[in-house]
Symmetry: C2
Subunit: 142 residues, 2 copies
Amino acid sequence: MTMKPPRRSDCPTNFAVEHFGDRWTLLLIRDLLFHGKSYYQEFLSDEEGISTNILAARLKKMEADGLILRQKARDGRRIRYVLTDKGIDLARIMVEINRWSAKYDPDTGVPADHSQKIKDDFEGLITDYQRNAVARRAASAD
Amino acid sequence: MTMKPPRRSDCPTNFAVEHFGDRWTLLLIRDLLFHGKSYYQEFLSDEEGISTNILAARLKKMEADGLILRQKARDGRRIRYVLTDKGIDLARIMVEINRWSAKYDPDTGVPADHSQKIKDDFEGLITDYQRNAVARRAASAD
DNA sequence: CTCCTAACTTGTATTTTGCAAGTAACTATG
DNA sequence: CATAGTTACTTGCAAAATACAAGTTAGGAG
């Protein structure tokens, strides 16, 4: 009987930290939300190079935390990971993070058109990501 | 000769993770930005209970990352930690985090008046926190 | 049936975190 | 001005998280 450790506090910042206060969760949210990734192999192939055991552990925790769902694909070997509403609602935080990083990272990899869109149509950008994530979740797996 | 490890990628999400993708940094930003804390003992006394060695390490890293500055207090024993502009610019992300947590945490400790203000005057709330942080930085230490 | 692939698990080394004690610099007090 | 108390740390060690390499299992393709 493994039981989850008690939360350190009821502070909302702590709630967030207990969801994504680690070296990988935000990067996986990025993959799901911005890059349209859905499969184990896709997450493995991102440039930061997550190890397979860590990826498996993170996906398990994110599911337990209600950020993602597991769907069986038509190809019975594959499992599709999609964001829940709770996960999709991180879009605003994620785009704010991109804005902050673009401002303070001299070597930022934020594409110029994305930065421009952040300035021109911030709300539209967020809505686009959210609509896409909802659409992908509803779509049938490959 | 300790040299800092190379960044894993130039992705803006990764830039953010390398700044606050751990169990403590966001909580310290919260202390500095929302709770007006400035001193070592104040950070030690927060309810999550950070250990002294971790606190020292985090403060050192946050300074190296340009999120905070160290100021000597009149009392020569004390050191005042204040947010830089880069740190203060996290206010928007922090308030978005509060909003997300208040929405999804059934036991959230977000005070009702704060939630109300998030709805009624989101921009004003952020500006208030930022102005206060700037004012504290400019003020002379105790 | 055989080979291949996708999603994991297992084993072990390394790094980070957590807990309990210090310690050095400075201040307050008698 | 000696002593006690504070403040911001450091040090030593146990525990947990992370990283790297190598399996293993359930399908699917030919």
